[in-house]
Amino acid sequence: MIREEAFALYRQMLLIRRFEERCAQLYVEGRIGGFLHLYIGQEAVGVGAMSVMRPDDYLIAYYRDHGYALARGADPRLLLAELCGKFTGISRGKGGSMHFYDVPRGNFGGDGIVGGHLPLAAGIGYGIRLKDTDQVCLCFFGDGAVNEGAFHESLNVSALWDLPVVYIIENNRYGMGTSIDRASSVKDLYQRASAYGIPRREVNGMDLLAVRTAVAEAIERARTDKRPTLLEAETYRYRGHSMSDPGKYRTKEEVEEMMKSDPILLWGKRLIEQERFSQADLDAVDKEVLAQMEATVAFVESSPDPPPESMYEDVYVRSPYINMKAAEKDPAWRSAIKEDRMPPTLPPPTAAPAPEARPAAPPAESKPAAGAPAAPNPAEAAVQATAKVGS
């Protein structure tokens, strides 16, 4: 790994951490609703895995999905807007925390049903085989999903039909409040792959390099030999299952012990010891990430709520094989369009002041110099970009 990439991965993990911390704060303030499952503590898994994917590969994941979307390069502004139910959100305010899709980056999102996306991953793998390309599909899920029937059905056909899917268990030890000891007859979850003759491996999910190496090897096997792999990344979430979970099923000491092997801490240490970065470099990037989060929040604050009529959009695809005259009595069909709506590419955020320099009041919009065009509001640009497809 080159030095710059090592640093970029550090920044990615940090961005996820700061993004999640901000989400927790916004949730407490009542600006994010519903369920909120934070990825804090597990960053090395998503970032490590994503760092060895090709741009044309696919991924599909479960509801603790903020980290994957960020690691795969989604604009945090679109994601936070989604969390706040804004029209500029990546799913136009219809998905929320559990449903971050980013199809242009091959991200088929966060699925809200435990284990429910594993058969879909097999389907993406099957589609890849039929199209005869050398793409692969990564499928992320928690330790709770291995007890679902869908896990077994998916692994069986993936092995039977040689599907290029890498199944990654993020074992954070608890399926909501139930520890794996109380849920799984076999404690080494990756061993379950032996029932299907699938290559399997356990990896330290707190160690970015270990994850990267293991996933790269599995991707290569999928790409070249069309063989699936089951990886078990041992990791830990520091927060509750969701924001409403006080985590009384585990001890404070256990959490503190795990935090000693924090993936960001470990990777930062490595950057200093092996890659000739200084603590000042790490502090500077943290400051930069925090500033980016400020700009992200500012984007959300200037974003509109979804218009009521958007509720009927995105249910169906307009189709020449449907009698639209009859169908259009239903507003969901009336609003159907032929195209898909892809998330917009926003202009880069205008440099936001560093947090400590930020005035208490929301910053007044700087007046453009006489004759100069007003700086475009990225939120407006986002709405226009999504609206364009529909018109």
Partner: protein, 325 residues
């Protein structure tokens, strides 16, 4: 016009669409080497090979899930359910995934798949193998629900279902697989969401689909002997519903019976009945009467099975009721 069974009409539809579009493929239990549990996929494996006619393990959830996932990346899967009774094991894939991803992604994803197979009662296969589930699927926004009653409709509608970009639940009927009918020899398709008057009549409208439509036609023949001319309207697709054809008919006949093979409680006939009474209130000369299966699980004994299902006699009685005879 060629005369074909519904089985062969469905087979032709798939064969032609697979030849036309390499992204179409079939998967399901016994669809390949066995030639289909009901022989609907006969000959397709030999013509298209195992990657396009995929025999699967008995694992309905992954059958449906593979279809959904493959559809996401641009393929056009046809997932066969050996019977729709087993589709309950795949319901999460259809209701939580196929019907939801476009919406939850704000329009980024589409799911151009078909799930097809026989639904409804066959002959003495008892409670777990005789269920009509159209009401469950038609309840779900995001799905299209098609139910052909004739070979011509079956072929033309299945072609539309395969080409359509939405997830289509295509409910066939085992008892109708041997039903023969004229099928155009030239290329054609029938849009989904298009109702058809299967028999014109001036005295009463009978709305019925799939096997119940055939039962309603038999009832209409009996009624004609009594001098009652029943109009039989086949919606053909339940979601989206072509309600205008039903309303036009009821406005002419002023009387309406809805016949279905599903249970009475929350059955799809209640939806039609609701719409008719709201749209045609002034034109109705009698309350809408529904003929349904009895509200019990299907019994095994032949006599009980007959009593459970909508029979022509039950529809005739319902017509007499709305005509106050």
């Amino acid at each position: 016009m060629a005369v074909l069974t519904m089985r062969d009409a469905l087979n032709q539809a798939m064969k032609e669409e697979m030849a036309r579009d390499p992204s179409v493929f079939i998967l399901g239990e016994e669809v390949g080497a066995y030639q289909g549990a009901y022989k609907v996929t006969q000959g397709l494996l030999a013509q298209f090979g195992e990657w396009r006619v995929r025999d699967t393990p008995i694992a309905e959830e992954v059958i449906a899930g593979v279809a959904v996932g493959a559809a996401f990346i641009g393929l056009r899967p046809i997932a066969e359910m050996m019977t729709f009774n087993f589709s309950l094991l795949a319901l999460d894939m259809i209701i939580n995934h196929a019907a939801k991803y476009r919406y939850m992604s704000g329009g980024q994803v589409r799911c151009p798949m078909v799930m097809r197979g026989p639904s409804g009662a066959a002959a003495q296969v008892a409670a777990q193998h005789s269920q009509a589930f159209e009401s469950i699927y038609a309840h779900v926004p995001g799905l299209v629900v098609a139910m052909p009653a004739t070979p011509k409709d079956a072929k033309g509608m299945l072609k539309s279902a395969i080409r359509d970009d939405n997830p289509v639940i295509f409910l066939e009927n085992e008892v109708l697989y041997n039903l023969k009918g004229e099928v155009p020899e030239a290329e054609y398709h029938i849009p989904l969401g298009l109702a058809e008057v299967k028999r014109p009549g001036r005295d009463v409208t009978i709305v019925a689909w799939s096997r119940s439509c055939i039962t309603a036609l038999a009832a209409a023949t009996k009624l004609a002997e009594e001098g009652i001319e029943a109009e039989v309207v086949d919606p053909r697709t339940l979601r989206p519903l072509d309600e205008d054809v039903i309303f036009d008919s009821v406005r002419r006949t002023n009387r309406c019976v809805v016949a279905e093979e599903g249970w009475r409680m929350a059955g799809f006939g209640a939806e039609i009945s609701d719409r008719v009474q709201r749209a045609c209130f002034d034109e109705l000369d009698a309350p809408v009467v529904r003929v349904t299966a009895e509200d019990v699980p299907m019994p095994y004994a032949k006599t009980l099975e007959k009593a459970y299902l909508p029979q022509p006699e039950k529809i005739v009685d319902a017509v007499r009721q709305v005509m106050y005879r």
